[in-house]
Symmetry: C2
């Protein structure tokens, strides 16, 4: 049957389903049966069910009794909620990271991510820019050292990713955004917690407003 059983089937189902949602193979608002997904992934219903429950907790799907596992569309209102949260959480991460100080590896990685954003901006390579931006934010939260904070922000990453990708070409050139990252990095290196918090809070609020405005203006309510 399944010859590829080295990683656990539960993790396989989770990753497969998440990936399928992310790349659009499972369409927003559409519903899928447990059996259907199980066949498709190559595992039984149990791990699929497990994964569905987990994805439901993460807000990506809704399991509706007898009506299938529905991929939840991300609305402008959802992104507004998420950005409100991230505008509280990430500045906290920035503050904590500045208080603790960055270790060598993190410092290098964040500097590198910032430079990648700057060069991508010059070359107008928006996809590379977004990737570097994602990496920067992930590193920042990691650097806070607060495991629960890391976990909480990770939960929203895929949804933010969907929205960001959809709006990448509509948004203005991320000049200011890139400068914000450089400014935050300076605060981190100078061990200035209050500055880091303030800079990143402003950054997040601006990003959130820009994104939700874009989404509602373009009626992107089904990401």
């Amino acid at each position: 049957m399944t010859e590829d059983n080295h990683p656990s089937a539960g993790a396989k189902a989770y990753r497969a389903m998440k990936e399928m949602i992310l790349d659009g193979r499972l369409k927003p608002s559409a519903s899928y049966l447990e059996t259907e997904l199980a066949d498709w992934i190559g595992v039984s219903r149990t791990p699929v069910r497990e994964a569905a429950l987990r994805l439901e907790r993460e807000g990506l799907v809704k399991v509706r009794p007898r009506r299938g596992i529905q991929v939840l569309p991300v609305s402008a209102e959802d992104m507004n909620e998420i950005y409100q949260l991230l505008s509280a959480l990430e500045p906290l991460a920035a503050q904590l990271a500045a208080e603790k100080g960055l270790d060598e590896a993190t410092m290098a990685a964040m500097t590198e991510a910032t430079e990648r954003m700057e060069t991508a901006l010059e070359e107008n390579d928006l996809v590379s820019w977004a990737e570097a931006d994602d990496a920067f934010h992930a590193l920042l939260v990691e650097a806070s050292g607060n495991a629960r904070l890391i976990e909480a922000t990770a939960r929203y990453r895929t949804q933010v990713h969907r929205a960001r990708m959809a709006t990448l070409t509509m948004r203005p050139t991320p000049q200011k955004s890139t400068e914000d990252h450089r400014a935050l990095l300076d605060c981190l290196l100078n061990r200035d917690p209050e500055g880091a918090r303030a800079v990143h809070y402003a950054h997040r609020c601006a990003a959130g407003e820009m994104l939700t405005e874009l989404l509602s203006r373009h009626h992107l309510d089904n990401l």
Copy 2:
């Protein structure tokens, strides 16, 4: 408005396990087998496993392959992490609630909770005080209208509850804390988002420092 009134075995297992952790029938640091819990609750392993995975996601237990489901002790460091998060999340809730304005029912309920805190303080009834305090915070977050914010804070409620109960008799009389609530309520009624945020942020920071200091001073690392 938790509609988890299903007679389903899954919900039953979840509630039973959470309750057993909360009231100490399942002891911190101890491990329990899936079969054991299933027999004890009166369902099969499947819903127990489901509940265990959910509780692991909530940080209450850790499922360790072949070593059972371990009830995680809450350490001073854990409470520090949680209070850092809540110090970011709840002030946001206060701000959003003040921006939106409270509906009649919420306004009444929060006013009532505040009054209960005040009378409980006069009568030195710490348990009632803590209950009213919990209710106030829950109402505040609900009033933010941000579903993800509500969900995120709910996740830490049981752990905070454990720590608060353990330290209830050690802490100084919550005079200042009660006054803070009254001040926050005024900000909410006056529709003062910035004030609400600031007042509640200060409140949360103070509460967090007090609690973690108490926990580490009394070496309460196994709640």
